[in-house]
Symmetry: C2
Subunit: 294 residues, 2 copies
C-alpha cells in the first residue's frame, strides 16, 4: 500500500477532510464537490472492478487492508491514491447529520464502513444521457430496462438497482424526480450493483417513452386495474418496466401512455405490493421467460 | 362514536396513558402489558375486519373519524371502546425513544399514525402453536407456508408478512430468534397483512421440519449452491419456504435438513439477493405455478 506524499495523514475526526467526506451525505454537497462516497469492502470492490474510472481515492484501515488485500491492489491498478486511516476516522466520515441527512430522522445514523471507504467522481444528471443510453442498447437481442419514476426513498432506489442487476437488466434510468442513487443510503442498499450496469439520472419522463419506442422497446407499467395479468401476458422480449412512487404508484397518465399495462395477481387480502416487491415480481418473471426461451 | 364513561379524556401528551402506549415500541413492555399497538387507518381497518377479537381500544381524531366513518362502526361491532383524541396525543403515543426503540438509532423516529391508532391484545409466543397450526392446515389442497428463521429486522419481518399475504400464503411461522412481528415497525411494514393470515411466533426450528413432513408439506430452502434452479425445479403443491437471516442467510444445517433446496438464478453481477427479494421470487413463482395448474 502506498501513501501519496502530497497529503498529510488524516489524524483528527474533526479535520476538514473528514468533514468534507461526511458532507457527502447531502445532495447539494455531492453536487458542489462533484463527488460521492462508497462504503464497505463489497461496494468498493464493485467500484474498483467495474467502474475504476469513477474512483478518486481509497481510505482503508490497516486491518481491512489485511482482510481484503485485493482492494489496495485494485486501487493501484485504477491509479488512485490509497490512504491508511484509523477506524474512528472512517466512522466520523460516515456519520450522517443535519437536515440533508439520509438518516430517517435527520439525526446521526450509525453505520459501519467496515474499514473501507472510497470517494468517487459524481456522474452528472443528464436528461440527454438517458435517451442516448437507450439508443446505445443492442438492437438485435432481448433487453430489459428499468425506469424509476418519482421513487423518493434512497434506500428503495438502491435496492431496486440491486434487484434490477440480479434480474439481468441492461439499463436503469431514473427520472429527475427520483431520489439520488449516489446518496450514501442508496449506495449501501445497492450492494455494489450501482457499478454493475449503466445507471442514468436526471431523465425527463416525457422524453423516455418516445426514445424507448424508437428503439423497439415496449414500456410496461403495473396497475391494479389492468385487465391483463403478468403471468399470462404476452411480454415482449424488449421491455422497459416503469416503476412509480412508493405511496401513490404511477400517475394515471403514465400508465395510460405506456403501451403495456399488467396486473400482478394478488392472492390474499393484501391491497397492494410495495414498489420493490412489484419490481421483483416483474423483473424475475421477465428473466424466467427469457431463460425459458433460451 | 361513543366515549366510554369509565376513563377520562386524554388531554396531555405527557400523561400516564400516553406513555403506556408509547412504551409499546419496546418488546419487554409489550410482553409486560400483553398489548401491542396498530397505527394508521389501513392497518386498523384490517385488525377490526379480520381479527376483531384482538382489538382492545380505538383512538381516533375527529378528522380521521370523518374521513374513515367505517372505523368507529367496526370498533362498535367489535365491542371495543372508541376514544376521540387530538392529533398531538396520537403523535406522542407513537414517538419511539429509548434503548428498546425500533427506530434504527434509538432516537425518536417521527411517524404519523394518520389520526388512527388501536391497541390490541398481544398473542403469546407459543412453540406448540406452530406445530398445531401446521397440523390444522387443510390436508387435501395446495398450501404455502412461510417460515422466518432468524430474520432480525422488524421492518423486514413486516414486509415479508405483507408479501406472503399477497402471494396467497396460508400460514407464517416465526422461529424464536426472529424479530417480533408485533413491534410497531413490523406492524406498519405489514400494512395490515399481519391480520390477514395466521402468524405464529416463538416456534422451535427443530420441531418445524418434522411437523411439516407429518402434514405432507415439503420444506424448501434457497441456496446459492443448490444445483436445482427455482424456475425449472419440480415444486411440490404443498410447500414451506424457509427464509433466513438478512446477513448470513440460512445455516448450512438448516439447508441440509430441508428436503428441497433451490437456487434463484442471478443474471447480472449481483452476488446475492436480500431476504425479502428472494422470498418474493419464490413466493410469486409458487403462486404462478398454482394458478397455471388451476
Amino acid at each position: 500500500m502506498t501513501e501519496r506524499p502530497d497529503q498529510p495523514p488524516i489524524t483528527s475526526p474533526r479535520s476538514e477532510r473528514v468533514r468534507t467526506v461526511a458532507a457527502l451525505a447531502g445532495r447539494s454537497a455531492r453536487r458542489k464537490q462533484h463527488r460521492f462516497r462508497i462504503e464497505g469492502p463489497q461496494a468498493v470492490r464493485s467500484l474498483l472492478t467495474h467502474r475504476p474510472e469513477l474512483a478518486l481515492e481509497l481510505l482503508i484501515t490497516a486491518r481491512a487492508a489485511t482482510d481484503h488485500p485485493d482492494l489496495p491492489d485494485l486501487a493501484a491498478a485504477a491509479g488512485i491514491a490509497v490512504h491508511e486511516v484509523e477506524d474512528r476516522i472512517l466512522r466520523a466520515m460516515v456519520r450522517e447529520t443535519g437536515p440533508e441527512s439520509d438518516a430517517p430522522d435527520g439525526t446521526g445514523a450509525l453505520v459501519s464502513p467496515q474499514g473501507v471507504l472510497a470517494v468517487g467522481s459524481l456522474p452528472a444528471p443528464d436528461a440527454a444521457g438517458a435517451v442516448t443510453a437507450i439508443g446505445d442498447l443492442p438492437s438485435n437481442r432481448p433487453v430489459t430496462v428499468v425506469v424509476l419514476h418519482e421513487v423518493r426513498d434512497p434506500g428503495n432506489v438502491g435496492t431496486l438497482i440491486r434487484t434490477a442487476d440480479a434480474a439481468g437488466a441492461d439499463l436503469v434510468v431514473l427520472t429527475r424526480t427520483s431520489a439520488d442513487p449516489y446518496a450514501p443510503k442508496a449506495v449501501r442498499a445497492s450492494a455494489g450493483s450501482l457499478f454493475h450496469l449503466p445507471v442514468i439520472t436526471g431523465a425527463e419522463s416525457a422524453e423516455l417513452l418516445p426514445a424507448l419506442a424508437a428503439s423497439d422497446i415496449t414500456a410496461a407499467a403495473t396497475s391494479g386495474y389492468a385487465p391483463t395479468e403478468l403471468f399470462t401476458a404476452d411480454l415482449p422480449e424488449r421491455i422497459a418496466w416503469i416503476l412509480g412512487n412508493e405511496a401513490h404508484g404511477l400517475d394515471e397518465d403514465v400508465v395510460a401512455a405506456a403501451p403495456l399495462a399488467v396486473r400482478i395477481p394478488l392472492a390474499g387480502h393484501a391491497e397492494s405490493l410495495n414498489v420493490h416487491t412489484a419490481a421483483t415480481v416483474c423483473l424475475f418473471e421477465t428473466l424466467r421467460r427469457r431463460r425459458a426461451r433460451a
